[in-house]
């Protein structure tokens, strides 16, 4: 993934708030990159742009290339497919659907990907895959539980399993330990490192925590919307 001179400005009423002021960076396959920065530095916005949740300013200021394809050239359905197949998100506040069980939350990605008939044809294999992933993150015994019945650390593990079920090329995590205590956060980070080792998973983790950043292959430090290191 290559990012070149990316600019993003939010418009709050009549006031323009520049968030990213020309960010350039790259992430290689299998690499674990940490984006470090204080609150308001633009790191979450950068992650959203990398994941296709948001688009750069228009007229176009900066590009994001993924495997040679430019994201801003993607149509709406292509961008949906990119988010579903190529990217997996892990959020600070887990963002699980409260009405669904652990298993159903994890299977949501394949349901969106394959549609009704495609999913039903693969249901058996996909359920096995989801169960295996949940066992890997230590939740094999809580498949039918609802998110409300889980602790914060358990919820984040479900979110990680959900992000990985479609075998994305890029895992994007936004403060994955930010809402957890130190011990639990450490365990989550260990788990991400283990997954990365097993799958050679490319990961971009946004954090404000120096300890988390230290475990990355490379750290990109953001300040006031600009890359100051990395």
């Amino acid at each position: 993934m290559r990012v070149t001179n990316l600019v993003k400005t939010y418009h709050l009423g009549r006031v323009d708030v520049p968030v990213l002021r020309g960010v350039s960076m790259s992430v290689s396959a299998g690499e674990f990159v940490a984006i470090l920065g204080a609150s308001g530095s633009g790191k979450s916005t950068l992650l959203h742009l990398l994941g296709g949740l948001d688009r750069p300013d228009k007229p176009l200021t900066g590009t994001i290339e993924f495997e040679g394809r430019t994201l801003h050239e993607f149509g709406s359905s292509e961008l949906d497919r990119y988010r579903n197949e190529d990217v997996g998100f892990v959020f600070q506040f887990y963002h699980l659907l409260p009405e669904l069980t652990v298993m159903e939350n994890v299977l949501l990605g394949p349901m969106i990907r394959y549609g009704r008939l495609g999913y039903m044809a693969r249901a058996g294999a996909l359920k096995k895959e989801a169960e295996s992933l949940l066992t890997t993150v230590g939740l094999g015994h809580r498949l039918k539980h609802r998110p409300a019945e889980l602790s914060g650390g358990e919820r984040q593990r479900v979110a990680i399993a959900r992000a990985l079920i479609n075998q994305p090329k890029l895992l994007l995590a936004d403060e994955p330990t930010g809402n957890l205590d130190h011990v639990t956060g450490g365990k989550i980070l260990d788990m991400l490192m283990e997954i990365r080792r097993q799958r050679n998973q490319t990961m971009v983790v946004v954090t404000h925590d120096e300890e988390t950043a230290k475990r990355a292959d490379r750290v990109i430090r953001l300040m006031d919307g600009r890359v100051v290191e990395g």
């Binding site: 949740l53 948001d54 709406s76 959020f91 963002h95 990907r113 009704r116």
Partner: protein, 515 residues
């Protein structure tokens, strides 16, 4: 796939969608119950409009037309016609035993043939009943007795059918009248839907009053006044006749039951000078050579006249228009055969009417009332659409974060919109089906429910003293049910559409950051 899963989970995880389904249920049930009862009421009313008219009527009011026997013979020879009967209709005045005088419509009929064309035999009121009416729980209807005032009911029924009654004073069977049950005002309509005769009070010229012991079909007699006309329609002089009452009828059509008196056809023909008669007329001469016989006259039979011929078809109600065409065809042949002596088809054409055309004003009014009530209820039912819109709007707001999550996981805008539209449709289907079942249960049991309300709460909405029908219509029309249920499913979908589009247009990042 995920839409189905989310719809299922959202439906049972919150109280709001269940309230929305309840709103749809109530609206569906309300509209369907109204339609069923009002529609049933309309059908019953329309049915009553047919009881006294047959399927098609040929009318030439006031003066009437001759050779009606020939017309009836020709009509009954037509394969589409089951029977035909003559009738005279004329306005008149009736003087009742208590001294009151009322304007009424006098109809002269031949009982047996009239009964073949109309429901006359069924609507005669005073006849033996084997079991009480549905609402006559105590069996208070006097028709359940073997006899009343010493006369068996069968005698009164036959007297009504033939419009004649034995007069003990003269020792003869005389032409008699059959009055609408409401004409005399001596019959009290009870809650059970039956009538109890009561003694009227007669006011004397000196200011005193006295109670008359009279049961109309037994000792009642009325004075009828009609205005005969000549063949040009000019009034001649009032004709008066005193007639005993043979029976009374209840057609279910208040206008008829309150304002019609039947008498025997020949009696009315006589009063109106429409009876057949023999006349002396100069013979037609072909030339001056007949001069020798110029003073001779010929005896001519002038046939009687009637103002109407009523026709009953062999087919069902839907065939009335075809029957009308057949009647017009037969009438054209009849008019040609009696050229100059009866109105031509062109003259009488507009007076040949199906029973629906004869009752068009009345049926149209009831249909419009039903449509108005349906319209008002449908307007009220828009509440369901707005309610679903409001509930879904609030649910979309509540589920904004879920929408952001779905979008982050690659769900398309259309896919997200479909979650909510589908959700609305499911609520419509659940509410609509349960509403349909509720309506069916209510309509099917509306009479027991109404009776219970009467006993427990002293509420009589459908009072047989006001309405002619003793029971409330209790049939749900399958097509109506389908229309209402599908309508509410679609309405629910429409109600969910705007919130669904709002959900689809939510920016994923803003949705994820929504608190």
């Amino acid at each position: 796939m995920y839409q189905a899963l989310l719809t299922r989970r959202y439906l049972f995880s919150k109280i709001m969608p269940l309230l929305a389904a309840l709103a749809v249920l109530l609206c569906t049930a309300m509209v369907l119950v109204t339609w069923s009862v009002m529609g049933g009421f309309l059908n019953m009313l329309i049915g009553t409009g047919r009881t006294l008219t047959g399927d098609v009527a040929i009318a030439w009011p006031t003066t009437g037309f001759r050779h009606y026997e020939d017309l009836i013979k020709r009509l009954e020879a037509d394969p589409m016609v089951a029977a035909a009967a003559p009738m005279i209709e004329t306005p008149g005045m009736i003087n009742l035993p208590d001294g009151r005088t009322e304007w009424i419509m006098v109809r002269g009929i031949d009982g047996p043939s009239f009964a073949k064309v109309t429901e006359y035999a069924d609507i005669l009121w005073w006849k033996r009943l084997n079991k009480p009416l549905p609402k006559d729980e105590k069996g208070e209807d006097i028709r359940l007795l073997d006899e009343f005032f010493g006369t068996p009911w069968e005698d009164r029924y036959q007297a009504g059918l033939n419009l004649e009654r034995y007069n003990p004073r003269t020792g003869r069977v005389e032409a008699a009248a059959v009055l609408g049950i409401e004409v005399s005002k001596y019959n009290q309509r009870e809650l059970g839907g039956f009538y109890t005769p009561y003694a009227p009070t007669k006011r004397n010229p000196d200011g005193t009053s006295q109670t008359e012991r009279v049961f109309m079909p037994d000792s009642g007699q009325v004075t009828l006044n009609v205005l005969p006309t000549d063949v040009t329609g000019k009034g001649v002089e009032t004709a008066t006749a005193v007639m005993p009452v043979a029976n009374e009828f209840q057609s279910g059509l208040y206008e008829a039951d309150n304002k019609v008196a039947f008498i025997r056809l020949d009696a009315l023909q006589k009063m109106l000078r429409m009876s057949p008669y023999t006349s002396a007329a100069a013979p037609q001469r072909s030339g001056p050579e007949d001069f020798a016989t110029a003073s001779e006259t010929e005896v001519v039979q002038v046939p009687g006249r009637v103002t109407h011929v009523l026709v009953k078809g062999k087919g069902n109600e839907a065939d009335a228009k075809e029957l009308k065409k057949a009647v017009e065809r037969v009438y054209a042949e009849f008019a040609a055969a009696h050229k100059g002596d009866v109105p031509t088809l062109d003259q009488i054409g507009r007076q040949i009417k199906t029973w629906r055309e004869q009752n068009a004003m009345f049926i149209g009014a009831v249909e419009k009332e039903t449509a108005l009530v349906m319209f008002l209820f449908s307007m009220i039912s828009l509440v369901a659409v707005v309610l679903i819109l409001a509930i879904f709007w609030s649910m979309v707001a509540e589920k904004t974060k879920d929408i952001g999550i779905l979008r982050a996981m690659g769900a398309s805008k259309l896919g997200v919109a479909w979650v909510w539209i589908r959700y609305g449709l499911v609520i419509g289907v659940v509410g609509g089906l349960l509403g349909g079942l509720t309506a069916f249960a209510i309509v099917h049991n509306i009479n027991p429910i109404h009776e219970w309300m009467g006993k427990a709460l002293d509420i009589q909405i459908w009072d047989p003293r006001v309405y002619y029908f003793t029971t409330i219509p209790n049939k749900v029309n399958g097509t109506h049910a389908a229309i209402v249920m599908i309508g509410f499913v679609l309405a629910s979908g429409v109600g969910a559409l705007v919130p669904a589009l709002r959900a689809a247009m939510l920016h994923p990042v803003r949705a994820l950051r929504f608190e």
